[in-house]
Each structure stands twice: as C-alpha cells, then as structure tokens.
C-alpha cells in the first residue's frame, strides 16, 4: 500500500523468496557447520599426525571456499534483494529495527571471508597451531552470523515482548531465538557431515575413503539428537494459535511437511547405506543425499513460513504489507483511497472489476499467483459464485485465520468479489431469483358439524428439508413426523389413547417418493443399511397407522418419507395427509387433513454455484453445487467426501456430525451438524439478519416454500427475533460444545462480529433447546418484548412448545398449529392450506378454542380457560378484522 507492487502474476513473490532462500540456507548452514567441521578435523589430523586426513582438509577447504563464499554469500544478498522487492514494507520495518544487528553480522561476514581466505591460501604457509586459530576464528564468526540472523528470523515468527516494548533486545531475544539457534546449529553440523561426503568420495584409496565416509556419516547422524531436541523446543516455544494454524488449519502445510520429513528420513537411511556401498554407487547415493538435504531444508523453512501466515511479523504486519491499523482504517475509509500507488479514482459501478483487480494486487498478490505456479487463486475460487466470494471474503482472517482479514469497505469487498468471479467468466452480480406465482386461491373448507370426536393433527417442526442430492451427499433424509390427538367431546373432554386405530394416507400424487429422489437408491451407503423404497427411517410408509406415545400425550407416525415432488411433475411442498380415526369395529370416528411440509429448496447454489437440480421448480441441490460443497469440505477439513461420492458411496452428514434430529451420535471430536453448519457459515456470510437465514433455509420470499408463514411472520417479525441472527444462533450452539476444539476456533473467529457479547450467550443443544413463547408472552399476555433469543426451552422446567401441553394435558400444537405455521398461517401454495383444521372446526383460521370456540371440544360452556391463562380474550391482530369484525358487523 505504501510501496508499489511488483506484479508477479505467474511466478509469485513467495516462489521467488523460497527459491533463493532455501538454496541460501542450505549452503549457509553448511558453511557454519563446515567451519566447525574443518576446525575439528584439522585438529584431529594434527594430533594424530594423519597426512591423509590433512589432505582431505586441504581439498575440502577449496571446495568449501568455492561453494560457500561465492554461491552461499551472494545468494544471501539475493534473499535481501528478493524480500525488498516482494515486501518492501516488511523489509523496511526489519531493517529499521535491526540495522545494527545486521551491521554486526556484516562484521562477522568480514571475519569469515578474511579467515577463510587466509586458511585456504596460507594453509601450508602458516604454523599448524596458527592455522587452527584462524580456523577457530572462521568457525566462531560463521556461527555468530547464524546466531544473529536466527534472532531476526525468529523475531519474524515470535516477536515476543517487542510488541509492547519496541526494544531491540526484546525483539532479538524472542521466544524462538534460542530454540532456533540450537536447531539450526544441529542442522549445520549435520550438513557439514553431508557435504564432507562429496570430498570424501574423491579419495581414490579405498581405506582412506571409507574412513572419511565414516567421519562424514558420523557428523551427519550424531547431531540428530540436538536436531530433535531443538526442533521439539522450537515447536513448544511457538504460540499455540500459530501451531494450530500451521499444523491443522492451513491446507498448504501438508505437502511440503510430508516431503520435508520424508526427505529427512531418507537422508538418514541413505547415510547408513553410505557405510557399505562401493565408490561408484556411493557417488550416486551422495547426489541423492544432497537432494534429500535440500528438500528437508525446504520442507522445514516452508513450514516456518506457513506457520507465520497471515503475518509477516505476527501481530504487527500482514504478509501483504498491511498493518492491523491499516485494515481497520480501510474497512471504514476504503483501501483504494489509502493506497499510495494504485492510481485509482473513485469506486463506481462501471469500474468495479478493474478496481477489484487493484484490490487483489494490494492485498492478495503477496501470497497468490494468478494462474501461476504457486498458491494459484484460480482453482481456489472455482467453486464459488459472486455471492460465495463475497461471503468468503467476509470470513477471511476470522475463520480462515491463515489469511489476513479483508481490508476495505463492503463495496470494495464486492468489487474484489466481482473481479474474482470475472476470472472464471462468471457473472459478477448477485443471483436473481425468478418471481414465484401467488398462492392458488381457494374457498375456505366448509365448516364441520361437531361429532363425538375431534381429531387434531400437526407436523412436529413446521417444515422438513431434504437435500435431493443423495447421489453426492444427504443432509437430511425424507422424514416427516406427524402427530395427532383424538378428543372425545364431553363436558370434560378426554383424549382417546386406546381402542381406536388412527391411520394416515398422504396425498395420492406423493405416494411414490422413491421414483422422485435417489435417497433409497443410496440408502445403504448413506445409512449403513438398505431401506425398502418408500419406507422411512422408522419403518413408516406413505400410508399407515399412528401409534400412541404416552409420554407425548399424542399419536405419532415418525419419519414419513414424503417429498415435495408429485407424480404429475408438479412441485408441492405442502402435500396434504388425511388422518382417520376408527373404532374397533372400523367405524369412522373422525377425519382431518393437515399439510405435511417438505421441501428441497436449499439455496446453497447462491454461494456454491451450479444450478438447481430441478430448475423449473427452483428446488433441489444440483450436482455441480453438491460437488462444489464437498470439494470445499474436503479442502477445509481434510476429508475425502467427493471421492466417496464419485465412487458411488455418498455419505450422510450425520455419520460424523451428531444430530438429535436423527438420533445420530456422530464421531467424537466432531461438532454437531447444526453447530458446524451455522458456526462455519456465520463466519462466511455477507448477508444480514433474515436474509442470511433465507440464503439456506427455505424461507426466501422468492421461493416456492416460504416456510416461515405463520402468525408471527404476518406480524412482520423475522427469524432473528426468536433465533438470533446467524452469528448469535451459531454462538449459542458452539458454546455448548466447547469441549470440541473446532467450537473454540469458530467462536474465536466469530466473536468480534457478535451482536450479543459472547459471555452473555446461553448454550443450547440443536433441536432440543429452542426459543419459547413465554419469553415474550409472559403469563400468556400480549408480548412485552419482541426478542426471544437466548432463553431456551427444552429443559425439565420448560419443555419445548412443540412438546409440551397446557394445564389439561393437551399438546400446544394441536390448537395452535406447527411451529413456523402458527394459526393463522399464510400458505404460499394454496390459500387456507395451513389453516384447514381451525377453519373446519371453528370457521376461523385462529387457534382452535379461541374466539369462544371452546365448543369444538366442550359440550357445555366453560366460563374460564383451563388450558392456559388469557385464552378467552379476543384474538389479537389485523386478521381478526377480516374474519371476525365483518361477521360481527354482518350480525349487527
């Protein structure tokens, strides 16, 4: 931002730095260890009067000089050149902080050069003891130069107390300084042994060569102890957050770590081999060992660099040269205006894409290439749409903590997303949804004359979703639970719990879901057991019987596998189910109808690309969308779900993720499905409030389902007033699963964005703890607040609305309707579809028993309300005017 940016699209700055620095470190560490090696071996040769060993020292010194002074020295300058080109801001900071450290190192370089020149060219001229002194000077100077640079490199990983004090000494003597000195010194000694083998192989006389090889191998292997101790100490001195980011979160770490460790292991094995092979073979083995040494060096240095991401100096400057203060300012003032070198004017609609390119240069090019050799941005953004990219950019720095946060205003974020989308030729506008038709108009059902019995039925949740991508994965199987109460009308009505048969039959057009979705085809892979076509998880089909569940005080048919696709090709998320109650003789006692809500309208394609599986219905997760989702899941969690799917073995999410909705225990150490999904997406969501909910849940106003359709929806309340916004919603789940590491990670990323302080958030279990009516309707009165978030039902003291009863043991949904479809509900498919029961029994679409309709169940008049307080007052709200006032006026 402060400096111009060198557009290294193809090669990438990191590649350049890596190439130069790995080579330099390899040779330079050899130069340090080699100096100590030469000192030791010269001393041994003098002590034992061993001329062959002295010849070796003489020969090795020449090689040493040619390699380390020329190549080693100049590549060191090369690092300096490359870092100041690739990240001048960081280089400037380091130079200004450590100039006298580097100046001191320069003094030691000077000593090294003079000492090595003297040692080599005056080898035979000097008295042997003087020569040893010179060798000692070289060894000491070389080691000191390692010590000094180790301090500065270690500072770049763990600045330690320097962040508070700004002191040179605190910066230099930082937490990983000593461990890295121990580690690097051990590596240097090891490399001395390795490179000694090159000169050793030139000895033609076998006994001598074998001896020299033994010396080289000993020097290679013995420092392994120091290496492992130093390495362990190094790792332990790095802050835990850095360790987790490097070793667990950052997907870039794997390849090079495994290459590096494998190469190091191979090096040790080959070293042992060197002890027994003949000369010709030995030369090849040495060449291989040199390659292994290079790879091992590269692996370690790469890991160190990765561990530091997103920083170039942790807590101080990000890898793109921006400081946290810059990022903060950019979020309000905009980065384009702040950047000195972008030559860009104002951000407008017309210049969004070029502005996005500029923003990419300013904050992404430091680590990513554009269609280049390293960390190429192209495959990383392939699966995401423009909206997905906007969401992704939101999550950077929080969730993807190995990247810096996006620095810029929301408009700049969108401009960058537009540019990134354009790189793959994708649209850079938000997805536009087609208008859905208005609900079919229908007459209200005719009023039913009261008989001896009243049958009330409801769906447990108000909506049930399935993914319709079962050949790739399944989020939830088709499984809709139907409940009912059969009431015997009397002065004191009673629930009928035995001696009757309650049977149900789903609408005819929805009786063959197996021909519509691929769930049954893959049920073995998904559930671990085959399921008969058109039979649900609990053994229920599309017609059958309900069983009485005493604890629930209701009849129940669990997991009816209804899907919204009808046999005539239409899409109906609210197919009707007819329930009949029959006595032992088979006489019909009562009949009712209720909608069994089911949908496949999951808008994952908004961010994850692809098309709907059924474009004409705008429903079902499409194949490309499903594959993109799995690809991202694999990348971020180290799974191989996409491979499984491609091999015809799709996975049910609940195999790993616990889920009370299916009674799935999941795998230990893995978040519940709800916590994982919400926790993840809360960190990567660019939409706010209910728009965020509707981007996944089938509540979008342009959708065919519009599942949030009941009383509260008509009052203008949105999902977030009960469930909290996405961040709060996610946090409430995550704080209940803090024993799982991922929960803490997701919360750490989420916390800065929460609208309720984290400490105030109450934990809840998904599906088992929910917001409750009583939070707002205190004493069943008119609402005293419109915020039901953070107080949970589903405890012993307060069971869930969908599970509890009033004072007379009558289940709440029986009279009030399903959650999300509380009477009066506005069904998007057909008028009155959700209010059939109250309309039939009371002539009004309001909760059964309201507006004086106690006679639905009671044969005599009751002066007070036994089920719950305040139920005899007139029904509140504008719908009443349409239904009751006009009637009152008509009566008048």
């Amino acid at each position: 931002m402060n400096y111009p940016i060198w557009e290294l699209d193809f090669l990438g700055g990191p590649t350049l730095v890596a190439l130069v620095s790995v080579i330099h470190v390899y040779v330079a560490q050899f130069a340090v260890g080699g100096g100590i090696f030469l000192l030791f071996v010269d001393w041994r040769a003098q002590r034992t009067g061993d001329d062959a060993l002295l010849d070796f020292v003489r020969a090795h010194t020449r090689f040493f000089l040619l390699l380390t002074m020329v190549f080693g020295g100049v590549t060191g300058v090369g690092i300096w050149f490359t870092i100041s080109l690739v990240n001048p801001a960081a280089t400037s900071l380091l130079i200004h902080e450590f100039v006298f450290g580097w100046a001191t190192e320069w003094v030691f370089f000077m000593l090294e050069i003079v000492a090595l020149l003297v040692y080599h060219y005056a080898f035979d001229l000097l008295k042997p003891r003087d020569r040893l002194k010179v060798a000692g000077i070289y060894a000491f100077a070389a080691w000191m130069s390692l010590v000094i640079i180790a301090g500065i490199i270690a500072f770049m990983l763990t600045p330690g107390e320097w962040i508070e004090t700004g002191s040179f000494w605190d910066g230099f003597f930082n937490p990983t300084f000593l461990p890295s000195v121990v580690f690097r010194t051990s590596v240097a000694l090891s490399l001395a042994g390795l490179f000694a083998l090159i000169t050793a192989m030139r000895a033609r006389f076998e006994p001598i060569r074998k001896r020299l090889v033994r010396i080289g191998v000993a020097w290679l292997l013995l420092p392994s102890v120091g290496l492992m101790l130093g390495g362990w100490w190094y790792l332990a001195s790095v802050p835990a957050a850095l360790r987790v980011r490097a070793l667990e979160l950052n997907p870039e770490a794997d390849v090079f770590v495994s290459h590096g460790l494998v190469a190091a292991g191979l090096l040790l094995v080959l070293a042992l081999l060197m002890l027994v092979v003949p000369r010709r073979v030995g030369q090849v083995v040495v060449a291989l060992m040199l390659l292994c040494g290079l790879m091992a060096t590269g692996g370690f240095e790469y890991l160190r660099e990765i561990a530091r991401k997103p920083w170039v100096i942790p807590g101080v400057m990000y890898a793109n040269g921006l400081t946290p203060a810059d990022v903060e300012q950019a979020r309000s003032d905009g980065l384009l205006g702040m950047a000195r070198w972008d030559f860009f004017g104002d951000l407008t609609e017309a210049n969004r894409v070029p502005a996005g390119r500029e923003l990419f240069n300013l904050q992404c090019l430091a680590c990513h290439t554009r269609g280049g050799v390293y960390n190429d941005i192209m495959p990383r953004i392939e699966t995401l749409t423009y909206d997905g990219l906007r969401a992704w950019l939101e999550g950077m720095g929080g969730l993807h903590s190995y990247m810096p946060p996006f620095a810029g205003t929301p408009a700049e974020r969108d401009a960058l997303a537009a540019y990134l989308a354009s790189l793959h030729g994708k649209s850079f506008d938000s997805h536009e949804w087609a208008e859905r038709p208005a609900p079919r108009s229908a007459d209200p059902p005719p009023r039913q004359e009261p008989g001896e019995h009243v049958l009330l039925a409801w769906n447990d949740l108000g909506m049930h979703c399935l993914s319709d991508a079962e050949d790739r994965f399944s989020l939830l199987p088709p499984a809709n639970t139907l409940e009912a109460v059969l009431i015997h009308r009397a002065d004191h009505p009673t629930r009928v719990t035995e001696g009757v048969t309650l049977r149900y039959a789903v609408d005819e057009k929805h009786r063959d879901p197996a021909s519509q979705v691929r769930f049954w085809e893959h049920s073995t892979s998904l559930l671990g057991q085959p399921l008969e076509p058109n039979v649900g998880l609990a053994g229920k089909g599309l017609e059958g019987q309900l069983e009485h569940v005493d604890d629930a005080k209701a009849w129940r048919a669990e997991a009816i596998p209804v899907v919204p696709y009808a046999s005539d090709g239409s899409y109906d998320p609210y197919p009707l189910v007819t329930i009949e109650a029959l006595d032992e003789q088979g006489t019909l006692l009562a009949r009712t109808q209720v909608a069994l809500p089911t949908t496949t309208e999951m808008r994952c394609l908004t961010c994850h690309g692809g098309d709907w599986r059924r474009e004409e219905h705008q429903a079902g997760i499409g194949d490309e969308t499903a594959r993109n989702i799995l690809a991202l899941h694999d990348r971020d969690n180290g799974t191989d779900l996409l491979e499984h799917a491609k091999a015809g073995e799709p996975v049910q999410c609940q195999l790993c993720h616990a889920d009370p909705a299916l009674g799935a225990a999941g795998e230990p150490g893995v978040l519940s499905l709800s916590a994982a999904l919400h926790g993840w997406h809360a960190n990567t969501m660019h939409l706010e409030r209910a728009d965020a909910c509707a981007s996944c849940h089938p509540a979008h106003t342009a959708g065919a389902t519009r599942c949030y359709r009941g009383l509260h929806a008509s009052r203008g309340m949105d999902c977030t007033m009960c469930h909290g916004d996405l961040g709060e919603h996610a946090a409430s789940l995550l704080v209940a699963e803090l024993d799982i590491a991922a929960a803490q990670l997701l919360l750490d990323a989420l916390e800065p964005k929460l609208s309720t302080p984290l400490a105030d958030i109450q934990p809840r279990q998904p599906w088992l703890n929910e917001p409750d009516c009583s939070s707002c309707h205190v004493g069943f009165e008119a609402p005293s607040t419109y915020d039901a978030f953070n107080t949970w039902a589903g405890t012993e003291e307060l069971p869930l609305f969908r599970e509890r009863t009033g004072m007379m043991g009558l289940r709440c949904p029986a009279c009030h309707g399903s959650p999300h479809a509380l009477y009066p509900a506005a069904n998007p498919v057909e008028e009155h579809r959700d209010n059939l029961q109250p309309l039939r029994y009371t002539g009004l679409p309001f909760p059964v028993g309201s507006e004086g309709s106690c006679d639905t169940c009671h044969t005599t008049e009751w002066p007070f309300a036994p089920h719950h307080a305040n139920m005899t007052r007139p029904f509140r709200g504008h719908e009443r005017r349409a239904w009751v006032v006009e009637e009152d006026q008509a009566e008048e």
């Binding site: 060198w6 290294l8 190549f71 020295g73 090369g78 100039v99 003079v114 001229l125 000077i137």
Partner: protein, 349 residues
Amino acid sequence: MDPSALVPTPDTIPAPAFVFELLGAVTLFLHFIAINVVIGNLLVGSWKLFRPRSSSSSPFWKGLPHTLALAINLGVAPLLFMQVTWGTHFYTSSVIMAVPWLLVVPTLILAYYGLYVVHAGKAQMVTAPLVALLMLGIAFVVVNNMTLMLEPGRWAVYERARNGLDLNLSMPLIWPRWLHFVVACVAVGGLFQAVQEGWRRWRHNKVVRARRTRGLKIFAWATKVQIVVGIVQIAVLPPGLRSQFLGKDPLLTALVVAGLLLALGAIIAGQKLRLWPTVGFYLGTMAVMIGLRQALRVAFQRVPGHLLNLPVDTDPGPLLVFLACFVAGLVVVAWMVRLVLRAGEGDAA
C-alpha cells in the same frame, strides 16, 4: 500528480540520520576502491592481452577473486545503511525496475565464478572481458536504480509498467554517471598496477619501473577523461539543481571545487610519476566524490531536509555493540593479515 505524494511514509530510524550517512559513506568508499580494483584490473589486463607486446605472465592480479569477495562484502554495508535513511526511495525504485535489479544476483554469481576461471588462466581473452562486461552491466543497473530513486517525478512510469521491466533509460543522468564509474575503473586499474609494482622488493628494476610508469600514465589519462565526464554529469542535471553545484550552494560548490582540485593534483602527480602522492590525491578525490554523491542525493529532493524530517528514536545500545564488534573485528583481521605476512616473510627468509 505531485510526485512527492508517491514517496512512501518513512519508518523511524534508530539513530540520527548522520550516523547512517557517515557509516554508509565510509563503507562505500572502501567498496568503490575494491570494486574499481577488480574491474579495472580486468579492463587493463584485457587490454594488455590484446596488445602484441604483452608479457608472458598473466596480466591479472592473482588476488582478484579475494578482492571481489571483499568488495562484495564491502558493498553490503553501504546498501544496508542507505536503506535506513533512503529506504522509502530505494525500495520504490527497486520495485519499478525489479527484474534487472534482481538479475544482478545471478549475474554476480556468474561473474564471481568467471573470475576463478580467469584466475585459473582458462581462455582469458574471452573470459576476462566477459567478466568485466558482466560487472559493468551490474554497475549500470545499480547506477540506474540509484538515480531512479532520486527522482520521484519518474516513478509514475509504474502506472503503465507493473512487471518490473522498466529500465528508465530516458534519464539523462544515468549515462554520464555510469561512464564516470567505468572510467574510474580504468583509472584505478592503472593506479593499482602501479601500486603493485611499487610494493615489489625489486621496485627499482627497469621492467618493474616501466610497468609502474605505464600504470600511472593510464591513471592520469583516465582521470583527465573523468574531469570531462564529471562536468557532463553536472551539465545534465536539472537547471535548478545544476546551479546549486555551480555557485548557488556554498557547500556543494566547495565540494565540486575541492574534487576538481584534488583530481588535478592526482593528474599532475601521476604525470610526474610520483606514486604515493598520486595515491594520496586519488583517495582524497574519492572521499570528496562520495561526499558529493551523498549531497546530490539530498539536493535532488523537492522536499528539502528529507534526512532531517525522518522520525528518530535513538537506541544507543545496538549501535555501541556494533561499533565495539567492528573495532574488535578490525583488530582480528589485522592480526590475521599480520600472521600471513609474517609467515610469508619467514618463508622467504
């Protein structure tokens, strides 16, 4: 667009600016001498190779690779200190010409290994001029960068050229500045040859004296050319700046006059074949030239007092440690050199 808007915000410096300017000047002085010796020796030696009456012995100094090693090391220090006070300008110009700037590194490695090939006597008629050419190429890129960094007005070229390939050949100052360096190499090549012959035990020998004379003559001739090149350098400066060196600014003008006088002294002493006075005048001229170079850098800035405006937060500890190590290092180097010289004498005895 106001060019000064492109100058990045400087970081705080850990000691007053003059400390870094002084340390940079001293180490640059040594670096220039060493590198001029290397390239000069290659140029003068190559010239001798092409002339039929060159002697059978190698015209190249045996110590060239060592000298280059020291010259590179001595180049590190001024680059380091310069980045503290002028990093804002230097990093910027480096990025603008990133590719040629970075190519200096592999070129240097090539030249360095090439010097060993020359040293080993292999195909010197090809390798020596080639190595000299590579090193002059490096010098050209360095001069280019050092000049571009002075002129924020030219930095806007970045708008069209973000790939780091721009060499800014249109800057008039780079040509005489580079030529000044090339001619200096020739001059020092000749002077060094004279000094080499001046050290020999049998320096009164006729052949040795002839070589010494030739070396001093080369030096004198090249220094005459240098004066002309120097005048051209001043002439191509922007008028406002030029006038400062030609009378408007007393310090700058004094430096120019001093440099001119010392150069004239060196020419006269050289023509009179007075070796050590020539060396003395040469060193004096070099010191003044370095001072002029530093002053030019400051004078180029539109915002006066760039160095004075740098935020300073002095931390004496690290500076003192460095100075102590530097002095100790010099003592140890001196000890080692003495060791070799004594061993050589003992050997000869």
